[in-house]
Symmetry: C2
């Protein structure tokens, strides 16, 4: 990491945008996450960066020749910008950090430009930040895999033998990845009731969440040319929060032998702001010890986890207060993102800019740190009391689920914003 | 089906392109499958239709105002054309049939245009015909599911209870779908040998084929709005042949509990010409009887299978003769394409133009009609004798696999061309 880039991360750095200096803001000047937005004045989706209570319109800044992204900031998806490569992402980051830093008058004192280039964040509509050519979901939390294995297979041999040898993953459905705020309709499907010989058709009765993060591929690889584990992080543009909504009853009936399908293809929600790996750099930490030592293609030196606090809340319909369902941390994940990407490509699979890779449900060791209701209510057997709105085994119509995540720095935090969705009643 | 469209299918119809009238040609005037090609003279990939030994350059015909596809034939993928809708596909088909019919002089006698618009098929490079936003693979052959279940689970309960209730499917990897002729590199991965406690890393030793067909979605559906079974065929543009290359040893170790991943993401080959559902209409026939009767959302009246003969051959490196590994028929499939699409969307999943949906391995009731070596050699226990090149349990480097398929009409056939690939040695 060069000095100019390092300077964008300093904990004492402040912005002339006052709301960015609030220690509780998700979007201080050290963050600068990328997204796609539109607003009432300019309804064309375009690239922006979140800072404090504002969005910097990158297309407007590029038009003013203050940053250079080869015109890609006018596109309704970040893919073309991301495809320019890491040197360009970093150059833009350094330029933006300079423009927004306390004491820099270029944008601050140019009122006409400031009016064009700064949009109040609450007024803006956030769009899916990238076109997602492929979505893969991993299963990399040891606690989650152990919980699920205990529940549905054998508590004595909860973890299958392959789990400790590779980051198990499967292909998800990219078409139904939606941006935070999009309502989620309860799916219909086949339900196999224990009292009936044959399945019945109806609305899912065990609608669940999966608290995850995801990373966005910033540099693809050609078919047949695997990404080396040591090099894998250089292929990652950044991270988002992800809710892998799951219909547990549909899943239990359909998933043998080819894995989950309709139980998860009805919606996957991601947060709108992609936090770059550069912004996360100060929060790099060690992954849990891996035993047995992974095969060579899955080895990398140094630290490859990130200390990201995660929280999920549920607000019942009409309730004022939300209840915290879980608090956990991304650093608990057994397999790193680099290992996931190395494994994904080792047989020759190609990846593309914009590909989304989900972490898998992130669970800690206690019921309060589980990333799904399946685990925290133990398949509905131990309902959770809400602070307001009764109790829950699984989700009810009208429930609003919000995932938040942040890295806690010294007097500031690198936040992800929200990954939220409200449940609509099933289609009649 | 209107009269003009019906007229394009008449078995007595002939073309002034003589090679199209050969009863053994895959591409008579009744077929007119769409693809993307380029050639030495014009290296830009563009839309074409195969007829006899020729390709009709649709972009050239549109420039000459003989057909109208709103300029979409200049694109390097068919998605924009397909998105114009079924009425437009049909109008183009009717116009092309007229232009190519015996006795029509418009194109035949315009030598300058004919030189621009007719490209010798063997000289052309075929490209992937569509950009594939999503790839799903089903598992809809009862014989295949029974064989696999007998081999790896329990011969007495080979078919899992969910199999007879729904078209089981899973999300495939769209990025590695390649066009016929693309070499396929033997994948590396984790192999769990029975003699070892831990997996080893190495080249796949059980590389296999899966003889399939696939259909291309011609009209998508919005998130949350399922496609009704009765209406599903109107969402299908056409069909291709598909080889779902599979690394059986990687698959066996990795697939529990989330399904196949690296075992299948290294390559999936499709044939270059999309045969429209309209061209297949005369070969419509009944699916096998379904017992128990499917749930209501999976019911449709009438016939929904198609009588498509399928064959797969293997030619060893250096051999002159290929050996037929299997002959089977698409009409044996238990679940119809319409049922697959209805099931895929019933929980709310959206589909998009260009989505590829694989049938799953198509096996008949005998070893000679199995769609995979896994089945025909019973997991390698009964090697097959090749006519030239020794015997095979699984594929060897240099082997060339070719799938062909055709509907046999009265004096003509609606062919799919080839879906071929040759095995390259694994990466060192």
């Amino acid at each position: 990491m060069n000095d100019a880039l390092k300077a964008t991360l300093g904990s004492t750095l402040k912005s002339w945008i006052e709301s960015a200096n609030d220690p509780a803001s998700d979007f201080p000047i050290q963050n600068l996450p990328f997204g796609i937005f539109s607003d009432a004045v300019n309804t064309r989706p375009r690239a922006g960066v979140a800072i404090g209570d504002w969005i910097v319109d990158l297309a407007a800044l590029e038009d003013a020749r203050l940053i250079d992204a080869h015109g890609t900031f006018h596109a309704p998806r970040l893919n073309d910008f991301i495809a320019l490569g890491r040197e360009r992402w970093r150059a833009v980051r350094i330029a933006l950090s300079g423009l927004l830093a306390q004491g820099n008058a270029t944008l601050r004192d140019d009122e006409a430009l400031r009016r064009r280039a700064l949009v109040p964040r609450p007024d803006a509509t956030k769009h899916l930040p990238v076109e997602i050519p492929g979505y893969t979901d991993f299963y990399s939390s040891k606690e989650h895999a152990t919980n699920v294995g205990s529940m549905f297979r054998d508590p004595k041999n909860a973890l299958l033998p392959n789990w400790s040898e590779m980051p198990i993953g499967y292909n998800g459905r990219a078409s139904s990845v939606v941006v935070s705020g999009t309502p989620v309709r309860r799916p219909n499907g086949q339900l196999k009731l224990p009292t009936e010989d044959r399945p019945v058709f109806g609305a899912c009765r065990k609608l669940d969440i999966e608290l995850e993060t995801g990373f966005i591929v910033g540099r693809g690889n050609a078919l047949g040319e695997p990404i080396a584990c040591e090099d894998a992080e250089s292929h990652i543009f950044g991270m988002v929060l992800l809710n892998d909504w799951s219909a547990r009853d549909i899943q239990q009936w359909e998933y043998v032998p080819l894995g989950p399908f309709n139980a998860k293809t009805f919606a996957t929600t991601i947060s709108p702001w992609i936090v770059t790996l550069d912004a996360l750099e100060p929060f790099r930490t060690a992954t849990p010890a891996q035993e047995p030592q992974p095969l060579e293609y899955l080895r990398h030196r140094g630290d490859h986890a990130f200390d990201i606090e995660l929280q999920v809340t549920l607000r019942a319909e009409g309730a004022r207060r939300a209840t915290t369902l879980s608090r956990t941390n991304f650093k608990l994940m057994y397999w790193s993102m680099a290992q996931q990407l190395a494994h994904h490509t080792v047989a020759g699979c190609n990846t593309r800019v914009g590909d989304l890779m989900g972490s898998g449900t992130i669970s800690g060791p206690t019921p309060e740190s589980c990333g799904s209701l399946l685990e925290s209510t133990w398949n509905g057997q131990r309902p959770l009391k809400l602070e307001e709105g009764g109790e829950r085994s699984f989700l009810q119509d009208g429930d609003e689920i919000t995932i938040t995540g942040w890295c806690q720095g010294d007097g500031y935090r690198i936040g992800f914003g929200e990954c939220a969705g409200r449940i609509l009643a099933a289609r009649a």
